[in-house]
Amino acid sequence: MRRGAVGLGLAVFAGCLAVAAPRLASASDERLLWDAPRVFSIQPRPFRLGHEFQLGLGVLPTDAFYVGAVAAASYTFHFTDFWAWEIAGGGYSLNFDTALKSELLNDYGVAPVGGGGERISAFVMSGLVVKPLFGKVALWNDTLTYGETFFTVSSGAMNKGKFTRFAMGLGVGLRLWWTPVVSWRIDLRDLMSFNRPLPEHSFFLLISTAFSVARAPESK
């Protein structure tokens, strides 16, 4: 239920975004005709990604019986400023029991069957990254930095309990650049494992540092 609620929540948010966001831009060969003047600030992208290596710490917070502290890493290759492929990404989860098990035993004299269900211990995924939003951020209106919002669709394998299952991930992330090489990322992903027709959802929050070897900037 809770995993479904999280997945539903992500889907609702994505829907709000889709409704709120303006219509998609057309393909590059569609021409827009002007009458009223329009003003654009056209600036070269100050930071461009090429080969990206990510290291971070995350958490799997939504299971009632355990919280997973995840060490994660990934390698992503950015084809263009819009498309990228997360060639390989994965995480190892160190799981800590919540107080629920002892609470059930002490307060109600019951114990969960099988220790409370399967626990994620590791996962490996590969998938598509789409980066439709790029922009800039003012910190206290004093410092300027740049950021982008990206969406991920990935699939792979997840080790849950004694089994390795097929898994998919849907996610959204935000990147803030520190330097041309170093950026900070926040990723929210819904990791779905399949051992039944309906997937089991695990909400994954990752904060990480990314190191990038940039592609050469194109001329304007």
Binding site: M1, R2, A5, V6, G9, V12, F13, C16, L17, A20, A21, P22, L24, A25, P61, T62, A64, F65, T98, L100, L104, D107, Y108, G109, V110, P112, P132, L133, F134, G135, K136, V137, A138, L139, W140, N141, D142, T143, L144, G147, E148, T149, F203
Partner: protein
């Protein structure tokens, strides 16, 4: 400045000791990264829906209203956020209830969140914009908040509970008057139950639509 110097003493105003008026260099205005912000908030009314997704026994789906006063572009006070919870029992709870009924013959009562009222200080350090497919620009801001919270839980939890609600939020403007909000928060409160006092925490996620009035754009 229209009169010649006729005094050896400077004028009383230390910011313009020689009465040069408009000619005196004005260093009082400092222009930041954003010179003329498009979206400024003054009074805000928000309708929020949320969920407490981590409770093992009941997922509280909340509906609430919030009123915020934005003192500056960086500081605001959410004077009140009142939420009412609709609880959805989890499978675990149902199983527990059945087990308890079978073992002791008594119905199991577990405390659930009924309502929550919080008041939070909001800091808004980040304001930015992103180009959506290079054709449209979306404006957003990120915030941090913290403040006291008063909550009511059903029996066997006793009375009102006092806690602290901290969190982060993201706002995306649809127009000068309307914006979407996404908040992630952690409610920490004291649980008094069965003679025991222990701290509890509950993560909550809220989405909402905010209407702004009184601000400039």
């Amino acid at each position: 400045m229209s009169t010649p110097i006729d005094s050896e003493q400077p004028a009383a105003d230390s910011n313009d000791p020689f009465g040069l008026g408009a000619a005196w260099p004005d260093s009082s205005t400092v222009f930041g990264v954003v010179q003329k912000r498009k979206y400024r908030l003054d009074h805000e009314l928000a309708v929020m829906g949320g969920v407490f997704p981590v409770d093992p026994y009941a997922k509280a789906v909340t509906a609430g209203l919030g009123y915020t006063v934005h003192l500056t572009d960086s500081v605001a006070w959410e004077l009140v956020r009142a939420s009412y919870a609709f609880n959805v029992h989890t499978t675990l709870r149902k199983k527990l209830e059945m087990t308890a009924l079978a073992q002791s013959g008594q119905a199991l009562r577990l405390p659930e969140l009924q309502w929550l009222v919080a008041s939070r200080l909001v800091l808004k350090p980040l304001y930015g914009k992103q180009a959506w497919f290079n054709t449209q620009v979306m404006h957003f801001e990120a915030s941090l908040s913290a403040g006291p919270a008063l909550l009511s839980r059903s029996a066997p939890a006793r009375g009102l509970g006092l806690g602290m609600d901290v969190g982060a939020g993201l706002r995306m403007w649809l127009s000068p008057a309307w914006s979407l909000r996404f908040d992630l928060g952690e409610l920490v409160f004291v649980d008094q139950q069965g003679g025991r006092v222990r701290p509890r925490q509950a993560i909550h996620v809220d989405f909402g639509l905010a209407a702004s009035f009184g601000g400039e754009s």
